[in-house]
């Protein structure tokens, strides 16, 4: 299961994605050599979600290819964890919180095998990790937004992946959930995992991430936060949108203070 040290964690080469002949992402080249916490930022419509969906094979590539630990994504399914946007499913579906987290173990189980006691205990441990163990038997529709988000995080944890892709896990959640997500990112990183997070709050970028991918239909810049998350690159990514740049400016000032 442990990948060879030589292959990059993620290698995106010459990726272009188009919806109905309208390009959404152009010529993306992106290589992550070592495990890292990566924030993907950019204005609305910049293709942030599309980037991770393209990596996951959920949207077709017009050109290019993606490799995870040196192999095509289709052959690395068990190494990849996914946290979709919360709104992507119907929460009135007849399932309990534990049912949903157990879905994370399905990939390892394969066809026909049912989740057993071992999977159950593991799923409960994952729920414990995001602070939802008490609600394991709840119907998922009875959860608050933040709790639903954490259920998805627990499901991703249950996948025991090496690389996680998360689509706005901190959008519209309460402070406690944001804290849970943040702590989880740190723990995953400490375990040698790689996490790519579509993120919208520029103020927290320096605090949360080691590297940034700055995106606006094309790759504007990528690299360590200290050298890449600069006023110049932000301007290139967001153009002259003042409120966003002000928020970013605040983040930059904080970053400078902490150095």
């Amino acid at each position: 299961m442990t990948p060879p040290a030589s292959a990059p964690v993620l290698d995106i080469h010459d990726m272009t994605v188009a919806y109905h002949r309208k390009p959404v992402l152009w010529d993306i080249d992106l290589t992550l050599d070592a495990p890292s916490l990566v924030g993907i930022i950019g204005p609305n419509g910049a293709g942030k979600s599309t980037l991770i969906k393209a990596v996951l094979g959920l949207v077709p590539l017009a050109t290019g290819d993606v490799r995870v630990f040196g192999k095509p994504v289709e052959r690395q399914r068990l190494a990849i964890g996914y946290v979709p946007q919360r709104e992507s499913v119907d929460w009135d579906f007849p399932a309990s919180v534990l049912d949903v987290v157990l879905m994370g173990t399905y990939g390892q189980l394969g066809f026909l095998r049912r989740p057993g006691r071992r999977e159950r205990q593991w799923a409960l441990a994952c729920l414990e990790h995001v602070g939802l163990a008490d609600l394991a038997q709840r119907q998922i529709g009875q959860l608050s937004g933040g709790q639903q988000q954490r259920t998805f995080l627990a499901r991703a944890l249950a996948q025991r992946a090496q690389i996680y892709l998360m689509d706005e896990p901190m959008a519209g959640v309460d402070a406690a959930t944001e804290r849970v997500v943040f702590d989880l990112l740190r723990e995953l990183r400490a375990d040698g995992k790689t996490v790519l997070v579509v993120h919208h709050d520029l103020r927290t970028v320096p605090e949360y991430f080691e590297r940034v991918v700055m995106l606006n239909m094309r790759l504007v810049a990528t690299g360590p936060v200290e050298t890449t998350f600069t006023a110049e690159n932000l301007h290139k990514t967001y153009g002259g949108r003042l409120p966003i740049l002000e928020a970013a400016g605040e983040a930059l000032r904080r970053q400078e203070r902490s150095e």
Binding site: L56, L58, D90, P94, A95, M103, Y106, T177
Partner: protein, 418 residues
């Protein structure tokens, strides 16, 4: 009245029950994947294929006719998918267009056939519009039973895969499941179920057989497994009951009767199911408001009495004299509290808490403080304990958290002790 069913009735009964069970199983997935209308489109789109098969094959051979219906039904679904994919027409419009076009074509075809063939088999095709259960023979029942059994085995074997792909197809694909194939398999299951139901229930009403049991079952449970079992049972029940009722009251064809029995099952579920049912919701709402009113009155009396254990006269305006709905509800609450022995009236006006009322008021007070402490310490937990009530907070919160909150309260408000 003939209470002992004949052999023929038994055959039909077995057929409609098995059909109901199979449609109930397939319908759960159709409904959860928001494809309920697709079943309707399928049934209508099956008619031209059925007619063509009748024309080409000549005489009535059920498997061939059904195969024809299946092929044109699937062609209809593919037409809907194609319209959605290559044009800007939305799915509901596409379903409407395809459904009526195919049905119209089927009607024209059936007229053309009936004008050509001898009058003896004229009724053959018309019966597919509303179904003709009475014509069912034992081989039909074997066919229906066989397909229902295959559906059951498939759902048992692929339960986890079907559940995943119905809930979150993108996640299924990320895990490497052949989500598209699983999706097609489920759609095919629905298509086959709809098609074998055509002779019995008919093109027009088959969608109801698919949707009603699943929609009724959803009211009773929050678990997919339970929902599937219930839906199959409800489907079998309405198929059987509808057939019996139609035989008993000489209402033929049985299809519409079966659908009406299904509607009754759905309506009953909608009304009386615990928690999700309308009655349960209204009752819970009313009970909740009553409790809230009682708690307010108890708290008001407790506050008026202060820490004095003795009865203190309550200014009568507090509950009695103010006008409006709120005052009426508080008066009603006060009356209930008196009947239950929590409060007694005092001579000369006013009310006083009895010892049991004092106890309950203390409980309410403590619950409220715990609630506030919970909100302060775990603001994000509040939603998860939505059904918490000041009086039941102790039972519903884990003991660990209650102890923690009590510690919080002790440090924040040293004057308060339980």
């Amino acid at each position: 009245m003939n209470l002992v069913p004949s052999y023929n009735t038994l055959i039909v009964l077995a057929g409609t029950s098995l059909l109901g069970a199979g449609a109930g199983l397939a319908g759960c997935f159709a409904m959860l994947r928001r494809q309920a209308l697709l079943g309707d489109a399928l049934a209508h789109a099956g008619l031209p294929g059925l007619c063509l098969a009748f024309w080409l094959w000549g005489e009535r051979s059920l498997p061939v006719l059904l195969l024809g219906a299946l092929v044109s039904g699937i062609a209809g679904i593919m037409a809907i998918a194609a319209i959605g994919r290559f044009t800007r027409v939305k799915q509901d419009a596409a379903i409407g267009i395809v459904l009526s076009t195919f049905f119209g074509a089927g009607m024209v075809l059936s007229r053309m056939i009936q004008n050509r063939v001898s009058s003896g088999s004229r009724a053959g095709l018309d019966s597919y519009n509303l179904g003709k259960t009475a014509g069912m023979i034992s081989t039909d029942v074997y066919l229906i039973g066989g397909i229902a059994l295959v559906a059951l085995i498939m759902i048992v074997a692929l339960y986890k895969e079907f559940k995943l792909v119905s809930f979150d197809p993108a996640f299924a694909r990320v895990q490497g499941w052949p989500a598209t194939a699983l999706d097609l398999l489920l759609t095919l299951l629905v298509a086959i179920m709809v098609v074998i139901g055509l002779p019995a229930v008919g093109v027009v009403l088959m969608a109801a057989m698919l949707i009603l049991p699943a929609a009724a079952a959803r009211f009773w449970t929050d678990r997919l497994g339970v929902m599937l079992v219930l839906s199959a049972l409800i489907g079998a029940g309405i198929g059987g009951l509808g057939t019996l009722a139609s035989a008993q009251f000489s209402l033929s064809p049985a299809g519409p009767v079966i659908v009406l029995v299904g509607t009754a099952a759905f309506t009953v579920s909608l009304l009386i199911a615990p928690r999700r049912g309308v009655v349960a919701r209204v009752l819970a709402e009313t009970a909740y408001h009553r409790r809230l009113d009682e708690q307010k009155v108890l708290a008001g009396l407790r506050e008026a009495e202060g820490d004095e254990p003795l009865a203190v006269e309550l200014p009568p305006w507090r509950f009695a004299a103010t006008a409006g709905r709120g005052a009426r509800r508080r008066r009603a609450a006060l009356q209930r509290l008196m009947v239950q022995g929590f409060v007694r009236p005092i001579l000369g006006g006013g009310f006083s808490l009895l010892p049991s009322g004092q106890q309950r008021a203390d409980l309410v007070e403590r619950g409220r403080k715990l609630w506030v402490a919970l909100l302060l310490r775990y603001p994000e937990l509040a939603h998860g304990y939505a059904e918490l009530d000041a009086e039941t907070i102790d039972d519903l919160l884990p003991a660990k958290i209650v102890a923690e909150l009590e510690a919080d309260m002790a440090s924040a408000a040293p004057e308060w002790s339980p």
